[in-house]
């Protein structure tokens, strides 16, 4: 058996595997898309989407989730960027502790976390679930804590890619104070990393079900779950919209990340 014929057989079997597994991933999307076009009787069209967007509960839930996601991202950035910066430069001894804490969201399942949150914050002295809005603030805080792993890893990778120490020392020797260093030197250099962390957080928060559900919040997750029980065609349109949002977030992360590595390699070659 020659090397080239075995390589060809190899290539053929890899193509077969790839096509086969692709079908597993594409069929549910195709089927859902097909259903979403059947909203009107006897004719394919976008009626299901129109009905979904016209639903009086859709926009409030959607906009509430967007506001929650944006608030989560901003708060998380404000907390994680200084933390990552500090453990890189000033308190490297704390790094293992911080890394351990960023593992916790994977160790504590969402359903367990919300169980504990309800038990801790639903009675004095820490009564935070008495009104809808205070629950909402609590929900955002929980999302912030859950975003730490993604945000910390993104920012940490970003800090590793630039030489923070040299940049900081250069800024210091030019007389910059810490605020200036953080906002005018570090942040702009971390744009790509911050954007990736932010978009990943967005993709996770926007349709989150478990925690929002048990905290009785009218966000997109519980809305979608309700929809699957009460409507026939709209859930398919909703699933396609949710998939498109996730695609958009991940696509931008990939696109920006690729741009960053390309420009970096260019510098390295020069």
């Amino acid at each position: 058996m020659s090397a080239s014929s075995s390589a060809k057989a190899n290539q053929l079997s890899s193509r077969f595997i790839y096509v086969f597994v692709s079908l597993y991933f594409l069929i549910p999307l195709g089927a859902t898309f097909y259903w979403s076009l059947r909203g009107a009787k006897d004719v394919l069209g976008f009626e299901a989407y129109r009905k979904l967007f016209a639903d009086t509960n859709f926009l409030p839930a959607f906009s509430q989730s967007i506001v929650n996601a944006v608030a989560t991202i901003l708060l998380s950035l404000l907390i994680v960027v200084p933390t990552a910066y500090w453990v890189t430069l000033r308190l490297p001894k704390l790094r293992p502790v911080v890394e351990f804490i960023t593992l916790l969201p994977f160790v504590i399942p969402a359903i367990v976390l919300v169980f504990g949150i309800i038990r801790l914050y639903s009675r004095p002295p820490l009564l935070l679930t008495s009104t809808y809005d205070s629950s909402r603030v609590l929900l955002i805080c929980v999302y912030v804590a859950l975003s730490f792993p993604y945000m910390f890893r993104a920012v940490d990778n970003g800090l590793r890619a630039i030489d923070v120490r040299t940049l900081t020392e250069a800024a210091q020797s030019l007389g910059a104070n810490w605020g200036t260093i953080l906002f005018k030197v570090i942040f702009p250099n971390l744009r790509v990393a911050l954007l990736s962390g932010a978009l990943l957080t967005f993709a996770i928060v926007i349709g989150e079900l478990t925690i929002a559900l048990y905290m009785a919040q009218h966000t997109l997750g519980p809305y979608m779950a309700d929809l699957t029980r009460s409507k026939v065609y709209e859930p398919s349109a909703m699933a396609i919209v949710a998939f498109a949002i996730t695609w958009a977030a991940m696509g931008i992360i990939d696109f920006v990340g690729r741009g960053a590595t390309r420009s970096k390699t260019k510098v390295a070659i020069d």
Binding site: A7, Q11, S14, R15, I17, Y18, V21, Y24, F25, I27, T32, Y34, I79, P82, T83, Y85, W86, L89, R90, V98, I101, F106, V107, I108, P109, A110, I111, V112, L113, F115, G116, I117, I118, R119, L120, C141, A145, F148, W178, A203, I204, G207, L209, T210, L213, G221, M224, A225, T228, R229, P235, S236, M238, A239, A242, F243, T246, W247, M250, D254
Partner: protein
């Protein structure tokens, strides 16, 4: 490498310097919000559950609640969770590994790798209600595939006894986010296999099979095993997808906790807390083993 020895000594010697990071409080200021948030919204809620799980019906510390974990309801829901998680971890691990291998060294055009990783990023984050809906429209009673089978005279539900709301159904659905997670985690490990190893093996007369059996596979084993354990935890803690699919009524550990939150279905609050802590313990174990195996694999794959 010993980082930062000089800044440490600066910090230790200066008491009242002007720059905030040099005084003790300022030194911690940058990390303080992080610890406060983690403490209030991750650690404290879990500690509350841990404490309550050790509380007896009339107060006082007891491990009685944990002994009750052997009761029938708990064992059957844990059992189902573990069965589904093991199955989807092993299947997802194998299929994901195959796909990663195919796009990294299977001779496909390079752009397939890019498409695959981007899609994996999307699909691994696509769990929850939309994924459940997508499968209802595919393999549910009126799903497209179910309908196609009916066209050729085969009733998936009546004849084959299939149900989307069963062990098999949930396994198929969970694989949709398990396989991509495997692909994303194992690709870097495959990239770490060095060209020189293959060349050296070939020069010594090894067949491709021997190379894989004696060189590549032993190097990859910790990564593969570790990622499968990660997949196990990923499925074990999953709640949203199963809730959306079954309305929260299926016999699964996460769904049991959900029912316990809405209304003490176990008729014993203490047992509810123990069930929740049991999940945390299993998750902690799997993440712990994963990180050990990951560290071991890093020795070779850099």
């Amino acid at each position: 490498m010993k980082p930062n020895t000089n800044s440490k000594s600066v910090n230790l010697t200066v008491g009242g310097a002007l720059r905030p990071p040099r005084i003790p409080i300022g030194r911690w200021l940058g990390v303080l919000p992080f610890f406060v948030f983690s403490g209030l919204f991750l650690i404290a809620p879990t500690l509350v559950l841990a404490y309550r799980s050790l509380e007896g019906p009339d107060g006082g510390l007891t491990i009685g609640n944990y002994l009750l974990l052997t009761s029938e309801t708990v064992v059957s829901s844990y059992g189902m969770s573990i069965r589904i998680s093991l199955t989807t971890a092993i299947l997802g691990g194998l299929i994901g590994f195959l796909i990663a291998w195919v796009v990294s060294m299977g001779g496909l055009p390079p752009r397939f790798r890019l498409i695959t990783t981007t899609f994996s990023g999307v699909a691994s984050n696509f769990a929850g209600v939309p994924l459940a809906s997508a499968y209802v429209f595919t393999l549910g009673r009126v799903g497209v595939i179910t309908a196609l089978f009916k066209l050729v005279g085969f009733d998936l539900y009546r004849t084959a006894g299939f149900s989307l709301y069963s062990f098999l159904g949930l396994t198929i659905v969970y694989l949709y986010f398990q396989i991509p997670l495997m692909v994303l985690t194992i690709l870097p490990a495959l990239d770490g296999l060095k060209h020189e190893w293959r060349e050296a093996a070939e020069n010594l007369g090894a067949t491709p099979f021997q190379y894989w059996r004696d060189v590549a596979f032993p190097v990859l084993t910790p990564s593969i095993l570790g990622t499968m354990i990660l997949l196990f935890g990923n499925s074990f803690g999953a709640h949203a997808t199963a809730y959306a699919l079954t309305g929260g009524l299926f016999n699964l550990a996460t769904l049991l906790i959900g029912q316990q939150i809405s209304g003490d279905v176990l008729h014993n609050p203490g047992l509810g807390y123990a069930v929740a802590m049991g999940m945390v313990i299993i998750m902690a174990l799997s993440i712990f083993i994963y990180s050990i195996l990951q560290r071991r694999s890093e020795r070779w794959l850099r």
